[in-house]
Every structure is written in C-alpha cells, then in structure tokens.
Symmetry: D2
Subunit: 420 residues, 4 copies
C-alpha cells in the first residue's frame, strides 16, 4: 500500500484523522464500562480493547519511530494492545482480552487523547507522502475496527439473556419482495485488482488479467424469505447440499438457522443491534457462514460467484448502497432493481490467496494481510456496518468459512451456456 | 441448620443484616465497573455477580415466599443470579458469567437497595425463629461470598500483566522464624461436630463419636520458608512424593511453586491483594492445592491431619487468629507459640463426606452443602479473608484437591507410637 | 504387605504360580490377535498388554534383582509394559497402548514363557519369605489383571456394532424376585482391617478401631428390576437425587441407564460377555457408577454403606458367592436369603483413604496402592469376574466415582433410630 | 468422470481388476493381524479397514445395483466400511475404526474373495461403458487406498517405540547434490484440466483457459539438505516466515523438523518404511505440511507454484519418475536434470476449488471429490507410494494445510520480471 500514489494532502489527512477518530468514540458512547470490558468468545474483542488497539497502531507505527520526543503513554500498552504483529514484540493472548479490567474506559480515553495530541503535532509537521500513507493506513485500520466493534458488541449483547439493544434505531417496515433478475457477462479476459492510485490495501494488488467463462450474477443478495424456504425444505438436514466440513461444522454446532435467528412459536425472530425483532422476509439474509451460503446456493441450483466475477460486474456499477448509518445498523430490503454494495458482505467461492506478483508492505505493517492468506474466503461489497468511505470495488474482506458473526450474506451466480 | 435452637433475636438479626450487607459493598468499593465484570476462569465469578447473587438469595428464600406484596426487582434475575439451586429453576451457565455486561454495577446497587428495603420490612414484622434462622443462613452465605469476592478478584487482578493492587494495605516486616512444636493427643473415643445450639451449617451435624489413634499436630502452619526448601529439594520433580492424580495435575499445569509465586532472578515474589511483594519466609504458605500439601507433608516425613484430629485439638483452643482485616488481607507471620485459626485454611486428609446421620435442610436450601459431598477435601480454621464472626471450630470448608485460588495452606500431623 | 506373616511354602507358591499364570492364558484363548490389540478408551488396556505387563511385574521385581544371570527378554519391554511405577523409570503413555501393534500375541506368549521358565528356576531355589511374599503379590496382581482383562474386553467388544460374544456361556433363566430384608447392627466400637496373617495388600492395614452408629444393611444387592423402576420414576432426570458432580457427569455423558443397557422397542437389553440379552429383573444391577448408586440410594430413601459398616457385617458371614466362573461371567439372581459377596462390587460411601497408621510397602511396589488414595471410592465384596481365591472380607477395591466399566453394583444401608 | 470416452475394453478392465486387487493384498502381506488393526490417529485407518472398504466400494456401487442374485457378504459391512458416502446410509465413526477388532484379517480376506468372485461374474457379462467406467473408478479408488495404506501403516509403525520396519528394502547411497535450475515460462493464456478422453476424476474437469503471468519453476523438488539449512537458520522460530495459522499450528504441535525426523546427537535421522535411517541431504524432503512448505519458500526468496503453473510446465514433460516401487517406498535423490513427477507430492499454492463449469458425477459417487473442496490445498505429481498407472499430469490430489503424514514435499516457483 505504501508504494501507491497517495491522493491525500497533509490537511486532508489531518481532517480525516479527526473525523475517523471521533467516530470510534461515538460508536462506543452508548456502551457502559461493563459492556466495553466483555469478550464473549475468542474471536470477539472488548470495545475498550478496540479503542486502545487502534491508538496503539498510531503510537507504534508513527509516533514512536517518527515523532521527536514522543513519550509513550504506558510502557505495558505495547504488550497489551498489539493484536498480532509478531515483528514488534510479544503480545497478550487474544482469547484472554476479556480478563484485563485495567486500563478501564477512563484510562483508555486518556490514552486516545494522548495519542491524538501527539498525532496532531506529527500531522502539523509532516510532508512526507510515505508518512501520510501510513496515517491513511492507520485510519483504514481504525475503520475496520469500527466495523469489528459493532460485530463484536452485537455478539456480546446477544449472549445476555436480557437481550439488550445497542441502539434505539427503528427498523423500516417490510416491503414487497422484488423478483430476482440475472446480470449476464460473456466472460473472456478481464482485469481485476486495484489500479494503483488512491488508497488500497496490499492484498488488492497488483492489478492483473484473469480469464472468465460466461456467467451471470443475481441482481440482489439472497433474502431472509428465501432462506426461510431453504430451512423449510430441510436445507440444514440434507447432507447432499453441504461441503463435508460444512456438514460436520453445522451439525457439531447445532446450526438450524442463521446466527441470531430464533423461533418464537411459529415465527422467526432475530437479534439486532436494536434488540430482537421479527424476521423481515424481504431483507437480505445476514450472519450466515460460507458453509451455509455454499449449501444454499447448491439448493438453489446455483453457485457462489468467484471474486473475479463479482469484481468484473461490480466495477461497472456505482459503489453505492446501505453502508454504515447510525440510524440503521441492519440490512434493509432493497429499493433498487440492482444492489451490489452494502447491507451484507457477500461470500465468494474464492479462497483468500495472493494475487500474482503480490508483495506485502515493508516492515511490520506487512503483517497486515499476507499472513492470513490461508483457510479463509473472500467477501466483497461491504455491509451496513462498513463506513462508506472505507469500501472500494476492489476491496477484499476475508473470514474463515465457519464465521457467522460478521455481517455476511450472499449473492448467487450461474454458469452461462454449456460448460463442456 | 434450621432445626438448631437459634440464639438470634429479631433486633440482633436486623442489626447483623445491616452490618453484613454493608461489608459486601465496602469490599466492592475499591473496584471499578470493569473490575467487577471480569471472570478470569470458570471457578471465578465477577464481583457484581456476587453482589447480586447474595441479594437473590434473600429475594428467593425469604422475600418471595414470605413478604406480602413483595415485587421482585427484575423477572430475569432469578435466572441470572441463581448459582446452583436446581430446586428453584433453570440458571445461567456458570462459566459464562463474565459475558453478562448488564445489569451493570449501578443496577446491581439498586437491586441490593431494593432487597435491603424489603428485608427491613420483613425483619420489622417477623417473629418466627425459622425465618430468623433463614436470614442468618443468608448472612452466613453472604459472608462466604465476601471471602469468594476477595479470592476471585485476586485471581482476576493477577491475570492482568499490570499486576494492579486491590488495596494499599502495607505488609508487616518479616519476623524471626518460630521453631515448630508438636501438640500431642492420646487418641481414643472423642466427639466431633456441632453441639446444636447457635448457628451451624447442616454439614457440621450431627455431633458424633469418632475413635482416634494417638497423634500429634504441629503448633503452626507450614511457612513460605519451609516451602522454599521443599522447592529447592526438588519437591515438584519427585514423583515418589506425590499422589498419582496430583503428579498428573502438577505436571499437566506446569506447577513449580504455589499459585501467585514467581521468580525474579534469584528471589521468590508473590502477588497479593496489595500487589506484588517479596516472599516472607516466616509467613504461612498460601494458595497451595491439596495435592501439593499432601506431597509436602510426605516430604517432611509427616502427613496431613484428619478433620477429627484437627477439631479435637482445636476445640481446646480459643478460636482467635488473623481473620479478615481490611488492612491486611494476607497471612502474617505468627506472633504466638501456637496458631490454629486464621491466616490460611488448612487442608485435612478427610474427604468431604456426610457425618453419620446427616440430614440436608428441607427445601431448596438443602442443596447448600450435601450435594457437593464428593471429590472434595475438608479444610479447617478460616483464613485472613474469612470474617471472624463467620468461623467456628466445627466449620467445614471444602474444595477440590486441585484448587489453589482459595487462601489454602496446611498444618502437619504425625502418628504417635506404634500404630499397630 | 511384605511384613505380614506369610502362610505360603515354596512349593505351594510354585503351584499357585503355575495355576494363576495358566488362567491368564486361558482367559485370552477365545480372543483373536485383533481382539487383543484394541484399546477402546484410555482406561482400557489391550489384552496382550495385560498379558505382557503381568509378566513384566515378575521380571522387574523378582527376576532382575534376584535371579543370577537372568537376561531380560527384550530391552524395550521395561518401557512398554510398565503401568505406572515411577520408581522404575519412564513408561509408554497409557492412552496410546492401543497403537502398539508389536510385539504381537505370538511374541507376548514367548515373553510369558521366558518369564515362566525363569520364575520356575527362581522358585526352585528360593527359601526367603520376603521373596515368596513378593511372588504372592505378583500373583494377586495378576489376578487383578485377570478381572481387568474381562472388564476391558467386554468394553472393547461392546463398541463393535456386530456385538460379538466373548463366551458362549448360557445365562440362567430369571427367578422369582426375593424380597429384600435388612440386617441390623447396634453400632459401637468395632475393629476393621486385615488381622495381619496371610496375604493382604498394604491398604488393608493396619487393623484399627472405628466407632459406628446403629445401622442396617440390605441383605441383597439392588436388582435390575429395582433399577428399571428408578428409571421409570425419572431417576435420571431429577437433579434433587444427585450429587452435583454426578448430575453434571450423567448429563454431560447422556446417561439414562447403566452402561451396556439399551432399549429395543419396550424392552431393556444389556450387552454381556455372552453377547446381548434381555435384562433379567431379578439379577443384581451391574455397571453403574458411584454417582448413579448414590442417586439410586437417595431415591430409595436409603444410603450407601460405609466400608466399615460393610466389613463389620460381612466379617460375620462366609465369604462365598458368585465369583469368577468361566461358564457365567455375569451376575446371577440370588438363590440365598443373604448375599454379601460376589456378583457385583458394591460401592461404599467411603472415599479411598489411608487407614490410621498406614505405611506403603518399601520400594517401587510401594506405589501399588497408596498413591491412588484420592478421588476414588471403596468397593467391597468381589464380583462375578473376581477369582474366588483373590478376595477377602477386608479387601478394598477402588475406582473413581464416574467409573462404570468395572462390574459395579450396590447394596443399600440405613441409619437405625434417631442419630441425634 | 462417467461421461468420459472410456478407453477400456471389458477384458482389459477384468485384467486390470485382477492386477489392482492383488496388489492390495500384496501390500498387506508383510503386516500381522495386530498391525492391520491399529489406528494411530483419527486420519489413519487400519489396514484391514482399507482392504474391506475398497471391496465395499465394488459391492455397493456395482454388485448390489447391477449383479442379479448378488448376496452381500454381511449385512453390517455396509455400515462398517462406508467411508463418507452420506448418500448410501449411516456409517461407523471414522475416529473409532481402530476399536473394531472383528471382522479380523481372515474374514476380511474372505470378504475380498467373495467380492472378487462376484466381480468376475459381473465383468464376464457386462458390455456397458458406464459399468466399465464405474469399475475403473473403483480401481482408481483402490489405488488411492493403496497409497493411503502405506501412509497409514508408516504412521502406525512410527508410533511404536520399537520403530519396526514395514519392508527390508535397502536405501540407495547419497549422491552428489545437483544444483537447482529454473524452468521459465512466459505466461499468457493457457489451457489446463483433463482433455476428456481416458479416465479422469470429475475434479480434473472441465478443461478451461487460465491466464498466467510470466514465472519460473525449479527443476527439482526441495531436498533434505536444503531443509536442514532452513532449520539451522531458525526457520521454525521466525514468525515472519510463516502464515499466521501455520505459526499457530507449528507452535501448538511443537514442530521443529518434518514429520518422522529426529535428532541423534548431532545428526538428523528419519523413520522410513524400511525403519530408521540417516537423513540423506540429496533426497527430496518429505512429510512437510503446506504451512512448512510455504514458510520454506518464503525463506528461500521464492513461493509455491499455482496448480496451473505446475500443470502448464509439467504437461510438456514425460510423466515419469520414482513412483510406487516395492523395493524403495521412499523418495530418492534425483538422477536427472529435471524431475517433475514422483518421489513426493508437491504442494501448490492453489486452494482446492471446483474448475469453472465443474459438475460432480451423478449419484452417490458424486460425493467422491466435490464435497471436499474447502480448507484443502492441491498437490501435484504423485509420490514414491503412488502407483505409476494411477497418476496423470492433470491429477489433483488434496490435503488440509496441516497434513504431514502423506508423502508431501515441494517445488519452488518465482515471478519473472516486474509484476508491475
């Protein structure tokens, strides 16, 4: 990412810095000290950890190496708030983040202010593009953690039998089901990957040629109503629909519906950041694993798209959609004939692998992406908890195929013509 | 316990109620909302859970069945704050107590006040001894949880790499090592168990005859200095000293010293509620499991006492010692030629079993003791975190043989003469 | 055990040696090489391992230290066939015994012959009582493994969906249910433990005084018919009947009947060493854990006896009963008004602890008993797979409270009069 | 696979049937009944299970649906010897295959003969290409299990402290290290996948276009000598070289060398099917996981090839190499300037995914490949335990990235020119 031609000026970066950092605090505001301390499973991190870790990123990669006379806020934070960067030393074990009660939220706020003050000084004096790029990386990193904060707190609150709401946002009424259309593509040699100007993560590079067979993509993500049909049709009990590992996982974990769905007498409900609500059949299904998405596609006589197929079609669409909006935080029924971005991350059938010629960034930030390129699948398009200025058509999100706590859904694809 | 002749009057009970309840809040006062939320291992409960659960006890066993027009504070609390009483319905799983962020500390305080108000009304009108006995049971129950709160928060804080202190209490300077003496007893037929007037738990009853062989007990608990010798002599590496399960546990867990001990260059330190400090060789060793206590005794050419032996000798001593004292919360070097009570709970070699003729209390409170009478060992004497008005000579504490997070130590015993 | 006055002469020992060793081979005879290789759970050992380990015992404790010019059969067997004696070196991990295909059954037979030849030479020349005592210990050890071989192979075969039979022994027809009578005892000071002449394990010593309250024991073990009533009455679904650990274990493991029971439409069947058969309501129930035995006793308004109670009554009865008989290998309905020995080991409520004045035997054989004195309960009376010349009134068998694969049943006990 | 134009005639198929089936028995011949019963880890199956399962395949997919009057050998075998075909009913749990002692090796031999007799009858009367194709599939399936038998028994024997040899085959003397050369390819649009005549598995289809960037492949697999340098250079201790999951696995499992390597003083030894031997630095390294292969490649400044890269270059080479040879069963130092096939399966960086237009075979045999297309990586080229008439240039083997017990090694790849 650091060798990209940066579009950012120092003042634009400073302004964006303030904006992004403030948003993190805004997201934490409705949460009590207790809420911010809990880790409900190893994949989840406490809110206050996210707030501290995103600050640690600026401290470690910018302030300490680059700001003269910078004094770190606390010597132990480098250990406590390193997520996974082996190159910068030891770190506190991830599954134990929920047992660290101190620093508490008050001290974390002080830590953030300490870092913000120093960053303001650094940003006032810097002119180096590489440094601005690094700040930009830190801000995109923080935006990723904003989404993680919402995913994680949703999981935390869902474990509480009181089913508390994070937000009082109201949910829109169900709309009429929009029939699915198919967008066709003739295949052939296409180019995918980031073109190289403006910000991108290293995993979106280099742009390269890919050969595609003719295919079509559904114009809309799969809805809750369609998913309910899959359930009714025994989708969770038919091994012929599932990958072998998927079947073992679904049955080992007792899955019979998406995460957060539960039955009340004859109705399906789901837990949202606004508390429990009736499932709206017209909204995109969310919180399904790759295994479930793959089984659904097989049941529907279709398949998941590859990431190249997705990107090739999406590149011709405007990257608009239901992204992060504090008044919703939940997927919405589509109001447009096509919907390629937002609402739910869309599982692709592409394993998360390096693009041909991939080079990780230099230094410890090189651990950002490359070292996760195994046992994960690529998701595209962003979700209702992704900041709109964080997403791109070439953006590659990734999760293990069993993950359900991200805001994950799916779009169907099909081969066109005779594949022989 | 309910069939004992109660020594308590209504006003004495009311006064004791206020005193005990206030003490719980006092113990929680130094802890932040974050501290009170954390569960560092399945055996540990969050502080705010202890505060709520002890209130639930009064609500469930006294207010709901006995106070006219009582309205429970929250319908879900019966589920959230039941510890293990199967007779009163389902309960939230123990190992997940640390993921429940709400109710927070503020609501828990309100819950306590709600219960206290109602209890004040109940106590103002009650004259029934059975009811007063039940209040007394609730207060002894709460005192047990006061000790658990200190044990648990010590564990929580010890998991934090910052090693924060719960208290600023200072620790007394080391004193001269007092040579161990032996207290002899000729054996024969003795009586043990609670005599039946005043409060006792059901597991201390009935008083009954036991035949003892001649034996002697050490006048003092084993000290840290003696334990350091055991370590130096390879005590943790010699399988011949250990029970088979003890050896497997010690090696599986990587034990090489008591819990909370750690080496700094050549010195042993330990973590206390006042933070880390140098090990004082003259203070009683604490936080050792039954397995370690048993191995130490074998190494020392001695054994652990049976609970009957301990009680027979202790019954002739005054039940004074270093009990709960907010300015210490740590075992102290002995200033007396003999020390039978306080500082550390003393492991006995007696498996926790019913006394002959044991009857559990009627109703759900009958689950208090009897159902734990397997896979545990009896401890006697109370510790530096046990309230002084909670302990008795006949008091039977119990923990599994692998437990180390209670304030547990040991006293040596020996056979006298030829056991044939 | 080595300090007992041995009743054995050299020739009697030699004769007994031949007899016991031959019996082991006879027990293995119906089993194929494949059968003898399998380990169906960590507690189970392969038959060929038992055959080798019992030979290793003689090699290690008698031949190597005491027979001039003895050459061990294979240098690695000391490692492979040591069960748990830390004092004689490292050992192969127990849960992995089933992955060692070599030595095979043919080599194990050669090993046994090699040891037998050398033992014949040793026995021809020895006159030392200590040596004869050690041989006697080795033979009692081998008899214990004969019972283990039958327990273990029953478990192995039960895991096979073909449900193969070990033996073709026929099972007697059901008899009329014999009403239970109660044998009363006035309590008081009694003596228990081995008197000190003839063979005993160290854990039966020393004989010592115990004070008992008045009690009564059932004249017969609990039957399968009674157990079926317990099941029908919801015994496995009522937490009030169970110890807390018992409830957790029973539910964690999904227990709803004794081990080896299964339902076919409306009937209970059980797997035996003779293959599957209908449950006979008049035969003693077998393969229940301590947890289940304890819950049943509570359901029946009774309790389990202590080991002192059992021994005190049993000492006045003849130690006859349905012990090992190759034509049965299964408990039988009682034909006598009283039945204290044989058929099923009887759980007592006594944790397995050292008797007052207990001293383990000197040397590595001292690891035989003492180091297991934690987390286990004492069983008395022998079973239908215990050799008759192996059992004694003072014999203390022991297993963890969750064990079900031994031939374990229970006898009820009651307090007499008011225990106050 | 069934829609391919079959090259086989009935008589050629019958002859191949006899040849392949005989080979399986030949491979089992050196193994005792005990050897054939053991399962040393969940991934490993007992030899006698492989012998029975391969027969079950013919019985289930050919004899029962297609041979008039066929009587199955045993009604329970369908349950016992189904590996993973959900479409044909329930099956015995894989991790418990090692506890099934019966049927023993003698009965399994009878089962094989029973199936062979019936197959001889079926082959004498069939003329249908689809049926011959299915027989061919069964034979390729059996050849895969021949390789599995050798992989599995190697693991079984390696767990035995006696380190027994499967074969007495001698190993050739070390040869001079051959310097690595690089084979360059200009990239562009290429075709990969099976062309559609002759036998292929469904996962090799359909043939399709792929776009490649310019690259080069090493002419030889990585050798043990190079791997020893990686170890010496701290390869197993440098997190920067590893994928995140790889690092966690390697450290969780304590890996510090390939599977089967062990140090004797200063030398590396390895366990082979011929017993333990000194590591020959010139032979291809074997029994490394994808994680290790990937880390090695990064250390070497290279990467793993994609499967398309591998196939594109290998398609221009003769598919000869050190395949299955009963006198070796171990990789050999290369005697040629190039070596693309045999010795060790070569990890590629390609996740195992469906080719564009992939269709699983109809019916239960459709479970053969497709349902494993997640969490696995493709390996190419065959190994020293792969039958020579089983392999093809387009053959896609696959294993999870942590697998080490297959005969797995690696070949390096590099980008050519500036990846822009």
């Amino acid at each position: 990412m650091t060798h990209l031609i940066s579009a950012t000026s120092p003042s634009a970066t400073a302004s964006r810095y303030r904006h992004v950092r403030k948003m993190t605090e805004k997201l934490a505001a409705p949460l009590s000290a207790e809420d911010q301390t809990v880790q409900s499973m190893p994949d989840v991190s406490p809110t206050k950890w996210h707030r501290a870790h995103t600050s640690w990123f600026f401290e470690t990669f910018l302030l300490e190496p680059r700001l003269r006379d910078y004094r770190s806020f606390h010597p132990a934070y480098a250990y406590l708030f390193n997520s996974y960067y082996e190159g910068v030393g030891a770190r506190y074990p991830r599954p134990r983040r929920g047992v660290v009660s101190r620093p508490g939220v008050a001290e974390v706020r002080q830590y953030r202010e300490h870092v913000d003050d120093a960053m303001t000084r650094l940003l006032a004096q810097t002119r180096q593009p590489a440094e601005l790029d690094l700040v930009d990386l830190g801000l995109h990193h923080e935006q990723q953690h904003q989404e993680l904060m919402l995913m994680d707190i949703k999981h935390v609150l869902s474990c509480n039998p009181l089913q508390p709401a994070y937000t009082t946002a109201t949910v829109s009424a169900p709309t009429a089901v929009r029939p699915r259309a198919w967008v066709e593509h003739p295949g052939g040699l296409v180019e995918v990957g980031h073109p190289g100007y403006g910000f991108a993560f290293d995993n979106e590079l280099p742009r390269h040629a890919v050969h595609l067979e003719p295919f079509s993509l559904a114009s809309q993500p799969v809805t809750c109503g369609e998913w309910a049909q899959f359930i009714e049709d025994g989708g969770y009990e038919r091994p012929d629909l599932w990958l072998s590992d998927g079947w073992a996982t679904a049955h080992g974990e007792g899955w019979d519906a998406p995460l957060y769905w539960f039955r009340v007498v004859d109705d399906w409900w789901l837990f949202t950041l606004g508390g429990p609500q009736l499932v709206d059949p017209t909204e995109p299904v969310c919180h399904v694993s790759y295994y479930e998405a793959d089984a659904f596609a097989r049941w529907a006589g279709a398949r998941l798209p590859t990431e190249s197929e997705w990107e090739t079609v999406a590149a011709t669409r405007s990257p608009r959609g239901n992204f992060f909006d504090p008044s919703a935080l939940h997927p919405r029924p589509s109001a447009h004939p096509e919907s390629f971005f937002g609402d739910v991350w869309q599982w692709t059938s592409s394993a998360y692998s390096p693009y041909p010629g991939f080079r990780p960034a230099e230094g410890a930030v090189g651990e950002y992406n490359g070292k996760f390129m195994v046992n994960q699948y690529v998701l595209r398009g962003g979700s209702c908890v992704t900041p709109a200025d964080h997403i791109r058509t070439t953006y590659r999100n990734f999760f293990p195929p069993s993950a359900r706590w991200p805001f994950t859904g799916l779009r169907l694809a099909r081969d066109l013509g005779d594949p022989a």
